[in-house]
């Protein structure tokens, strides 16, 4: 609904009557005898008032005080204020403008001018309000579309990762479990309060989403090796190890996303999710904190999930037993803090 009311504030009835008469045919006018009354009316009817015509010299609360109070109420940029005054000294005019008056109109009043000046500013304010409403709606629409695109992107990433899982005879649940466990581990690590684990919710989301791409390089590994039921020969194992670097090569095919955080996490995770805390991993033999926290976390999540689920070469192992094996160092070397958080996550039975 468009605001139409005009609030007239003047201690003299005659001045109010003249101003009221000017707008009577198009607007509803409200009258206040002093600043305090004006503020009370504004408190009740701020949403209907399209302009305030304000005398300066008044008892109880003067026009300047009214503008200060309106500024406190956050109204000065919503409702245009016109000072109507017989006092056109430079000092009081500049004070009026400083406090945010849109215009200063001299007494004695010339009705035609007052009407033109007040109406054009009211029109300006209502146009601005309409526009900002339109901008707000468009902003909401853009945010919605942005979310849709992000969701679509994510679905594509998930489909790709799942397709690769299928090749290894997995159900596709592996990537979803890795994502979930990565998220839980990062949240648990954050609770330690340590600076290196101080991830925002958004970062945790991005890393968790990126985690599902960790094995994307397996697309380049032959079925014979990937699905071999028995132990790999050392030559086959060397080939298998290249899935880390191959993953990065796959991701490099999408260069326009290199500035994207999710892409950067995924790239790092692909390459380094088989590094070991003691430096004995591959492909780069990184050691300790040379390995990013996200790659450390995905590495633990991947091993734990591989242990607790059936693979072509092994049966599923119960969680408690898997945890024990990991802690004993039978499945690699990991950051003890990440292992502690795994234990805490398992104790909370979130997995």
């Amino acid at each position: 609904m468009e605001k139409k009311d005009i609030l007239i504030v003047d201690d003299m009835e005659i001045n109010r009557a003249i101003l009221s008469q000017i707008f009577a045919d198009r607007n509803k006018t409200l009258e206040a005898e002093n600043g305090l009354e004006a503020i009370q009316i504004l408190e009740r009817q701020r949403n209907n008032i399209a302009a305030v015509l304000l005398d300066i010299v008044m008892p109880v609360m003067d026009g300047f005080q009214v503008m200060e109070k309106m500024a406190e109420m956050g109204l000065m940029d919503k409702i245009p204020v016109f000072l109507i005054t017989a006092n056109t000294s430079e000092e009081s005019m500049s004070r009026g403008y400083q406090l945010g008056a849109m215009d200063i109109i001299e007494k004695p009043i010339v009705p035609y001018f007052v009407r033109r000046r007040v109406e054009s500013v009211m029109e300006l304010f209502s146009a601005r309000e309409r526009l900002s409403h339109v901008v707000e709606l468009q902003g909401q629409k853009l945010r919605r579309q942005e979310q849709e695109i992000a969701n679509l992107n994510y679905s594509i990433i998930e489909s790709l990762s799942t397709a690769i899982e299928f090749r290894s005879g997995e159900s596709g649940e592996h990537v979803k479990r890795i994502r979930h466990l990565t998220e839980l581990l990062l949240e648990e690590l954050r609770k330690t309060g340590k600076e290196e684990y101080d991830f925002s919710d958004k970062e945790i989301q991005e890393i968790s989403q990126a985690s599902i791409l960790h094995d994307v390089g397996k697309i380049a590994i032959s079925d014979l090796i990937l699905n071999k039921p028995g132990r790999l020969t050392s030559e086959e194992f060397e080939t298998m190890k290249t899935h880390t670097i191959m993953g990065c090569q796959v991701l490099e095919q999408i260069p326009q996303h290199k500035n994207n955080r999710l892409y950067q996490y995924a790239y790092d995770i692909c390459r380094h999710h088989h590094e070991r805390w003691d430096g004995g991993g591959y492909p780069d033999g990184l050691k300790g904190s040379q390995i990013t926290v996200w790659s450390q976390v995905v590495s633990v999540a991947d091993v734990f999930d591989a242990l607790t689920n059936k693979r072509v070469y092994k049966p599923a192992i119960p969680a408690a037993e898997a945890l024990e094996m990991i802690f004993k160092g039978e499945c690699g070397a990991f950051n003890p803090e990440v292992l502690d958080s795994l234990e805490r996550v398992l104790n909370q039975q979130k997995v």
């Binding site: 005659i14 001045n15 003249i18 008469q21 009577a24 007494k107 004695p108």
Partner: protein, 115 residues
Amino acid sequence: MRQRLMDAGINVDTGISRFMGNEGLFLKFLGKFLQDTNFAGLAEAVKKQDVEEAFRCAHTLKGVCGNLSMDELYKLVSVQTEFFREGNIQEGADMMEKVSAVYGRVKEAIEETLP
């Protein structure tokens, strides 16, 4: 009637047009001007040498007689208001005689013309 008011320095035409052509409203407020206490307040403040109160009354009176197109009175009171604004009670007070005379003429003219 119009002439009587004009003779007292009241510009009836601009006054009526200020009330958007509503002659009745203009006359109503001319009548109310007689009850307005700002002139009396001004005279009292000048007598007491209270420059702040004199300014407040003169300023309000200026606004009202301006809006009622009492051109002669408006011009005088405008000058007087500026003296009081500067804190110059003496020069403001010196104008009181002239202001009173014009105020008296306006008052008489209104009393004679309005029922």
